[in-house]
């Protein structure tokens, strides 16, 4: 069976090459068909790989290394991409998938542009497929076949993490199509409104899954690692945040290109950078140059090939940019205080924020090259990234009402007064009543300011209540995304500044106090799952009249010889009571179990805000109803 997949992958590579050549020659129809066939073949190939995992066919080397007969079905399937070779196959599939989607759904009416885009996408696919087939083939056989597989890393055996890589890849690789569009546009020296409308749709098609992918990864880290937090400024997390930030900048700059034909060169550059940062993300994760809690399937040699690809694509695109940028249109005239100026400010801040993240992520590497061992943690990012974000959020509600070309500034005193009043009220409340830090109060004010600003902008555009629901999908999308951002900020500020954590060591039947809850350890029992066994503690938590039962676990996976932490979370209206079970300790001759207890206030708002941003992006993708002509 797997040989069929191997063959299909080779044929797919050939078709991708045809797609590349015919595309660059300007043959839209032929390139389109080649893209569809290449995708179909790769899909067959990928399905045979999944089938090998489902059937636990240990004569396939990859299955033997990463699967196990006792593994639940979901993890047998997700195991197909839970390793280096399989994830590269997924990367190829998605690259070809975007080519096929482009062949079907690009609507620019310009054959040459579309053909070259498909051609570029084909060449990107050829690179990925060549790497897959010649440097990290998932289709190799083992002889003799072992009776049992080595199992998937237990940390990856988790529902959220099963869908995290596909989502993330849809985002990363989605930017390959935007990259292809930018390259094609630059070849024609024509980055105009028609190009921008197309580029905006594909940027959204990448941005939405990338957002969901990051949220899934963060949620997994929250409940699986047992450290109580949702973002650790870990290199691998940063690697996904950077393309997201560039992608967010791109989404805003492409609007100027679409509506005013401005920022053409800048938008093209961002489109290129979004994909380059995506490849860099893959490189940082795969190469193992950075130590990380999330780095799986690490292989330095393959990292070098990825780096080569990064330099090759990056070099090509940047040279093309250097040759063509000056020819691109300058757009309609505008002054600094205008919507163009506001979106330019948005872009500058997002790019500078990306650079601070990049510096913090790569600094340990540079220090290591200089012979020093240094690590950069959360305090660095809190000091550099957060102020950048604060600047962006503070100006957003004010400037989003500004008009194209030149803003009407008659109301600026009202906005300034309103903003300052809001901040002062929150600071007074924060210090006087909530007893939180001034920074936290300011952060809360920012979040509220954003939500208010987004809703105000919706009402300003709609004018009357009746028309609110008739606003075009992209206005709704913008509103939802900005409200989501505001709610995220509120959740993030409350969670990071108000998180309570403590450690208790309890004997069976003993009680302790944490976060205002009284905890009683009822029992600790050994239990068994399909491919693990575990110590499972049962605790009763009581606070006032509410009572909850929590059962954190410590699992051991014999196939991988690895323990994992299964946290117990009790959701209350205001946050999560969160417990992780630790080891057994002998204290004064008495055995006790140690627990890490957290109360994470408003943590759900963090995820709700991010998901709302993704939904907002989805709304923007929704086509506007065509006006019927009588």
């Amino acid at each position: 069976m797997i040989e069929l997949g191997h063959l299909a992958a080779f044929l797919s590579l050939a078709m991708a090459l045809a797609q590349g050549i015919y595309g660059l020659m300007g043959q839209r129809r032929v390139a389109g068909w080649a893209a569809l066939v290449a995708f179909g073949l790769m899909l067959v190939s990928f399905l045979t790989l999944i089938l090998a995992f489902v059937r636990s066919d240990f004569s396939v080397a990859l299955v033997a290394q990463h699967s196990h007969t006792l593994k639940p079905m979901l993890y047998k399937i997700s195991g197909a991409w839970g390793n280096h070779e399989g994830s590269m196959a997924l990367w190829c599939l998605v690259t070809l998938g975007f080519g096929a989607a482009g062949a079907l759904w690009m609507k620019t009416g310009r054959d040459k542009l579309e053909a070259r885009t498909l051609g570029m996408q084909g060449l990107l696919a050829v690179g990925a497929m060549g790497y897959l087939l010649f440097a990290s083939s998932p289709f190799l056989r083992l002889d003799p076949a072992p009776f049992q597989g080595a199992g998937l890393n237990p940390l990856l055996q988790d529902p959220a993490l099963s869908f995290h890589p596909p989502m993330l890849y849809l985002g990363y690789v989605g930017y390959s199509f935007v990259f292809a569009l930018a390259a094609a546009g630059m070849m024609e020296s024509r980055i105009d409104a028609v190009w921008a409308r197309e580029a905006r749709r594909w940027s959204l098609a990448a941005f939405v899954p990338l957002t969901i992918g990051i949220a899934l990864g963060s949620y997994w880290a929250y409940y699986e690692l047992g450290w109580g937090g949702w973002w650790f400024w870990d290199p691998v997390e940063n690697a996904s945040l950077m393309p997201w930030l560039i992608g967010a900048a791109l989404l805003h700059s492409v609007i100027v290109t679409e509506k005013r034909e401005g920022f053409a060169a800048w938008t093209a550059l961002l489109a290129v950078l979004a994909f380059l940062f995506s490849i860099m993300g893959a490189f940082l994760v795969r190469s193992g140059v950075l130590t990380s809690v999330h780095a799986f399937a690490v292989d330095p040699e393959r990292g070098a090939i990825l780096l080569f690809g990064l330099v090759l694509y990056g070099g090509f695109a940047l040279i093309l940019f250097a040759l063509r940028a000056y020819k691109l249109s300058g757009g309609k005239p505008w002054v600094l205080l205008s919507r163009e100026g506001a979106l330019m400010a948005n872009n500058i801040v997002l790019i500078v924020a990306t650079l601070t993240v990049l510096l913090g992520t790569l600094f340990p590497l540079m220090a290591e090259a200089a012979g020093k061992t240094i690590s950069v943690g959360e305090p660095y990012f809190r000091l550099t990234f957060t102020p950048m974000l604060a600047v962006l959020l503070a100006i957003l509600p004010v400037v989003q009402a500004w008009a194209w070309g030149k803003a009407d500034l008659t109301n600026w005193m009202k906005w300034a007064a309103g903003g300052i009043a809001l901040v002062l009220v929150f600071m007074a409340l924060g210090v006087g009543i909530w007893s939180i830090s001034l920074g936290a109060a300011f952060g809360l004010a920012l979040g509220v300011w954003l939500v208010f600003g987004a809703l105000y902008e919706l009402s300003r555009r709609a004018v009357t209540v009746k028309r609110v629901f008739k606003m075009p999908p992209r206005v709704w999308g913008m509103t939802l995304a900005h409200v989501g951002l505001g709610l995220f900020v509120i959740g993030a500020v409350v969670e990071t500044t108000g998180r309570y954590e403590t450690t208790v060591a309890l004997a069976e039947g003993g009680t302790g106090n944490a976060a205002g809850w009284t905890l009683t350890l009822d029992e600790v029992r050994a239990i068994e799952g399909p491919n693990w066994y575990a110590d499972r503690a049962v605790l009763t938590a009581v606070k006032g009249g509410t009572k909850a039962v929590l059962a954190p676990m410590k699992r051991y996976y014999p196939a991988a010889q690895m323990p994992t932490t299964e946290t117990a979370i009790h959701k209350t209206g205001t946050g999560d009571l969160y417990m992780a079970l630790g080891e057994q300790r002998i204290v004064d001759g008495e055995p006790r179990w140690v627990f890490r207890v957290y109360f994470n206030p408003l943590i759900d708002l963090v995820y709700f805000g991010v998901i709302l941003m993704a939904i907002g992006g989805g709304f923007c993708l929704w086509p506007r109803k065509r006006k019927k002509t009588a």
Partner: protein
Amino acid sequence: MRARTRRLYTFGIAALLLAAAAALAFFALRENANLFYTPEILAEKGTPVHGKEVKVGGWVEPGSLTYSEDGATMIFTVIDNSPNTITVSYTGIAPDLFREGQGVVATGTFQTDGSFTARQILAKHDENYQPRELKPLEAAG
């Protein structure tokens, strides 16, 4: 507004913001980049300022692990190939692969009495993964 003036302003704002970010980053890196200490390096360089976050690493001395009275805090000694040692206390769950005699890296601050209070500890995982800071130690030992 002429395009040239506008460009001047745009680049001016960008440069200003970039400079601010660079200054912040410089300050943050100087303050918050964690330096790494083994018992040997500690003896050489002296104890860092109280309150500054650093990392210490080495092996957990066999037989040195004890607990505080309430059982929540673990106290152990970190050793390397030098005669010097560091006493580390940590309130929390030990990492899954924390063992006496194994490698460990702790992030935290030195107290005035010379002991180390850890905020986070990482243990050597397996043959494939170990804290980056311990690699030179391993090679020497």
